[in-house]
Amino acid sequence: MDDYLVGVLSNIGIVSFIALSAWLLLLTGEISFGQQAFFAIGAYAAGIATALWGWPLGAALGWSAAIAGGAAVLVGVPTLRLHGLYFAIATLGFAEMVRLLFEQFHYRVMIDGELVGPNGSDGFRGIRYIFENDVGSLQFLALIYLLLAAALAGFMLLERSRLGVAFRMIGEDDTLAALNGLAVARLKILAAGLAGALAGLGGGLYAHLTTYVEPRVFDVMLGVHSLAYGLIGGLGTALGPLLGVVIDIGLLESVRAFAGYRMIVFGGLVAVLLIVRPRGLLDEALVHRIGRLFVRAPPAGP
């Protein structure tokens, strides 16, 4: 496979994690402009684990998901009672705080005759695990999609489970959900933690793909994009945010005609698409209709 194609596909896979993370919160009715914070925490955590501590990749990724999820739970507690706009701005404030903290974060270790590690705003280079351990770019791509598939499978199960129903109920009306006996606070924190862990996992993969992270990468723009993917793709199914990512990175960035003007097209698309489909391309109604199609006439083929 062409290197460029592998690169684009890897990017799509990794960005899908943070898009899914923002989408999960959308499901519970909250807009977060701050999922990039957990992406950043995951990226730094995983990078430090492999490059500085010599951990294996698997352990580093697990660690990145765990610490990002933990951070998300801890932020979830004080912001729990905030709603809508207030929640969105609180997450934005938190994410900027994290980014600015990373600008102050220096932790350098002499490795192989060179200082390696996060160096404040100058960034963190040399997260070279996949090169040192001969992980091919295709192999890494396979790892990304394996994890993504696992996450999606998790979401599919979630949609069918009581938990998924509970999340959507809270998203519709959390007072009503509480009256129906749902432990809204606990469920919301669970959702925040899961979303944080997902973003953290994506961040861990991202750090190893690019070998380089710096605080500026994790500014509000990243969070805004991850949110936009879910809204463009649709809120009806976990495939929605993926569709959003594919439209932006796969279509707009890869098609030469848009080169350079991609963001203008994307910005306009976000603004205009919402006129026609306020809940995205794959909204609940469409998903329901497609679902019924399959139930009524089971596919003959695969």
């Binding site: 290197d3 460029y4 690169g7 960005v15 990039q36 925490i41 730094y44 955590a45 430090i48 490059a51 500085l52 501590w53 010599g54 610490i67 933990g70 951070a71 801890l74 932020v75 507690v77 004080p78 938190f94 705080m97 994290v98 903290l101 974060f105 932790y107 350098r108 270790v109 490795i111 192989d112 005759g113 060179e114 590690g117 996060p118 160096n119 404040g120 100058d122 960034g123 963190f124 280079r125 070279r128 090169f131 040192e132 001969d134 690019t210 070998t211 380089y212 710096e214 500026r216 990468v217 994790f218 500014d219 723009m221 990243l222 994009h225 932006d248 960035e253 080169a259 350079g260 963001m263």
Partner: protein, 145 residues
């Protein structure tokens, strides 16, 4: 309830730093990998076309300092300060007569700091990132972490 919130806020702040704290404890000399590693020096200069730059990349073996010839090099770039917004598709950087020297022409979308991704393949597979600040009429490499 206020106390709970206060505790939560403090805990959240603590969590941000916990990666660092944990790191201090867990830091020990990692096992040295005896694999070849590339080091790159990038020098770019403007061309007559606006936003187009000619970059000369000098690759060396990071340990021995010997020039690294014979690798296939592509150069991509993205903009850390505008994440997800601007990136340049990787271009091939063919070798120059001087061993270890490669040349690429970059067509950027805007001025500012770019992170150049140097992808090495062939005898050595590696990726080196160089931060270069491109301004009208000049470009300079910046130190990184």
């Amino acid at each position: 309830m206020t106390a709970l919130r206060l505790a939560g806020a403090l805990a959240a702040a603590a969590a941000c730093l916990s990666a660092g704290a944990f790191a201090q404890v867990g830091a020990q000399a990692p096992q040295a990998q005896v694999k070849m590693r590339a080091k790159a020096d990038v020098a770019c200069r403007p061309t007559s076309t606006a936003l187009h730059y000619d970059c000369t990349i000098r690759l060396t073996n990071a340990r021995t300092g010997e020039p690294l010839g014979g690798v296939t090099l592509t150069v991509g770039a993205d903009m850390p300060s505008m994440p997800m917004m601007h990136s340049v598709r990787p271009v091939a950087a063919p070798p120059e007569p001087e061993s270890g020297s490669y040349r690429a022409r970059l067509a950027l979308e805007m001025h500012g700091d770019w992170a150049l991704q140097l992808n090495l393949s062939g005898p050595l597979r590696d990726r080196v990132v160089a931060i270069v600040r491109f301004e009208p009429g000049r470009a300079e490499s910046r130190p990184g972490g």
